[in-house]
Amino acid sequence: MSAGTVKLKIDNIEVNVPEGTMILEAARANGVVIPTLCDVEGLTAYGGCRMCMVEIHGSPKLFASCVTPVSTGMEIVTQSDKLKEYRKMALQFILSERSHICSVCVANNSCELQKLANELGVDHVQFEREWTSFPVDSTHDFLVLDRNRCILCTRCVRVCDEIEGVHTLDLKLRGKDEQVIVDLDDQWGESTSCTSCRKCAKVCPVGAIYVEGEALSETKDKNVAKFVLSRRNR
């Protein structure tokens, strides 16, 4: 084993990955699929959605695999009844927090939240739903921000800051009141920093940021961050 390499087991598969690798990355590199919502390749990991939780042998806690680095001898379980229950629960919390109505949503059929709910078998929400009615910002020429569909994954905030480099988008407030804002909570149409690059719409996993008149399936490009980075680092 070469220096700086860590040896561990993921779902009983023995894997060797470089030191400092996150569990999620290690799993992906070895063909193990872990569900995610806030993760986008090329952006800093956020650990907010709790979909990528895994069990590590010897610990009663669950770990977010996108922000937990590997260490030698780890035995990781990515699929179990317990994990499935926790993932379903976390997904229901997300669904209950805002007004998610697939049938009238621009993201219908190309929504990552919807897809994951289908895969995990979440067909009901057992918690009382919030049915928010936050204002929809459509003051921009073509970008629309509908906070009622936002799952606070911060992909847009991160892509805007780390890839486009302008940090137009950010968050305000906490908990269920937390919302994506433009500049200092201004109307998008009045933003002085936004370059209208539409990367936020490309990475949005749901229908919270979209291009007016376009179905999300036309806009969506989850590889945009990876693509820009590969060009930048040529």
Binding site: P135, V136, S138, G213
Partner: protein
């Protein structure tokens, strides 16, 4: 004063009940048709982007979502202030024909025909579409296939049978019609036409033998309202409003649908969630008018397709001055309209322009207000939106086809109750005749209350003191 309540009413779309008030001598004083659900589309759409409206409002109904899509898209067309490409207009008209065919077939074969073919007094356990399948399997099969044909028009043009809201967009349509799909639909036209013609023949023979029902099923004078073409013909998608009185006089013609508020008022009664629209110049409740198939054929001088025009001539012979006032004849009118829609669908499918790929333009909100009016299967449907400068909805008013007939429902239900209810208890035959007159209108209460749910029946019979004598529910 005594009272009978029929709750819930069956084989209609939505929730309703009927309350029958009796006099001291147990004769019927008055009957009220009450809609018991509330949904609130006009309120909860406030703050949403205008272009979501076709998608949201079409969810008011699973039977006639296309009508909502069209009225809503037309209101949005006015907000974006563009001329819709001709092919998109033709495609919209085509799915509208599909919708009329499927909805009319649903009412006739699935909901109403069991009354005609199995008898008004037949056991409710068999007096339904399954009983029909047993008694007359060929007719039932044809009816189901006719409805499917209507649904297939919608699916082949707009992608889905129900709530095809991704296809219809403000300013046009999302994608064109392919030649294969058009050819497939064309190949199914002859069967649909044969079924409809046979059914019309059969139905005419049947109703010529039941003059009593014809005379008592809401046979009363009223005004009639609907869209007509520029030359006074049958129109379902565009056109202007015509109002006709019961003697066949056109009291108002080519009224601008955008200005509907000038001539249509909406009253509210404490006993129903369904509003009571009325013709403003006559006031409330005198301004009672009817909409839907019967009204459309009454106000139209012609249909504009050969077979339907022939049939329309016969229809007009049923009334004085060409005005047919028995609610029972909604059924006949519905069949004639089905014929018209099949002929019209053929015309549209044979038009080379229907295959053009120019169906959509990129659009933005340019106006702060838009009104869209179309003829739904059940009558004139109005969507009226106001938006702010960013296209966010600030106010919505919807007047649904079924609502226009609200005053007429009460009149019709009272008439039938006065004829058939004569006791302190309700018999199955009484119950069904009251329901049946409601079914003639083909009400869609889920739309009309913009309300949720299925449509069972609840009839209450109250005495002159308001005490409940009998109550039948299903």
């Amino acid at each position: 004063m005594k009272e009978i309540v029929i709750n819930p009413i069956t084989r209609i779309e939505g929730h309703a009940k009927v309350t029958i008030q009796l006099n001291e001598d147990l004769s019927v004083k008055e009957a009220r048709f009450q809609v018991t659900d509330f949904r609130g589309f006009e309120k909860f759409t406030e703050g949403r982007p205008f272009y979501e409206m076709p998608s949201i409002t079409s969810r008011a109904c699973g039977i006639c979502p296309v009508s909502h899509l069209l009225a809503s898209a037309k209101a949005c067309d006015e907000i974006v202030a563009v001329k819709v490409p001709p092919t998109a207009v033709k495609l919209r008209r085509l799915i509208h024909m599909g919708q009329m065919i499927q909805s009319h077939a649903l009412n006739f074969f699935h909901l109403s025909a069991p009354d005609f073919l199995l008898g008004m007094d037949a056991d409710p356990a068999i007096r339904n579409v399954f009983g029909l399948i047993e008694k007359n399997p060929d007719l039932a099969r044809q009816g189901i296939r006719l409805r499917r044909f209507g649904q297939e028009i919608i699916e082949n043009v707009a992608g889905k049978k129900i709530h095809s809201s991704e296809w219809i967009v403000p300013g046009g349509a999302k994608w064109p019609l392919t030649r294969e799909r058009a050819d497939y639909l064309k190949s199914n036209l002859p069967e649909a036409l044969t079924t409809t013609l046979q059914t019309i023949g059969m139905f005419k023979t049947w109703f010529s033998g039941c003059t009593e029902e014809v005379a008592t099923y809401g046979d009363f004078p009223s005004y009639y309202l609907g869209l007509v073409t520029a030359d006074g013909g049958l129109e379902m998608y565009d056109g202007n409003i015509r109002v006709m009185d019961n003697d066949g006089n056109i009291v108002a013609d080519q009224l601008d649908p955008d200005k509907y508020l000038d001539y249509i008022g909406e009253a509210v009664e404490p006993y129903s969630y369904m509003k009571f629209p009325y013709y403003k110049p006559l006031g409330y409740p005198a301004g009672m008018y009817r909409v839907g198939p019967l009204a459309r054929l009454n106000i139209s001088s012609h249909c504009g397709t050969p077979l339907a025009d022939e049939e329309l001539k016969e229809f007009k012979k049923l009334g004085k001055n060409g005005v047919v006032q028995s609610t029972f004849h909604y059924h006949y009118a519905r069949l004639i309209e089905t014929l018209f829609c099949i002929e019209k669908a053929k015309e549209l499918l044979e038009d080379p322009e229907i295959l053009s790929e120019h169906v959509c333009r990129k659009v933005y909100a340019n106006n702060n207000e838009g009104v869209g009016v179309a003829e739904a299967p059940r009558g004139t449907l109005i969507h009226h939106y106001k938006v702010d400068d960013n296209g966010m909805i600030t106010k919505v008013n919807m007047i649904i086809a079924t609502e226009h007939n609200n005053l007429a429902y009460n009149k019709a239900v009272t008439q039938v109750a006065q004829k058939y209810v004569k006791a302190e208890t309700l018999t199955e035959g009484m119950l069904n005749r009251v329901e049946s007159v409601i079914r003639s209108f083909d009400p869609c209460l889920s739309c009309a209350t913009h309300a949720v749910g299925q449509m069972p029946l609840d009839i209450q019979l109250l005495d002159s003191q308001g005490k409940q004598l009998d109550r039948k529910t299903r």
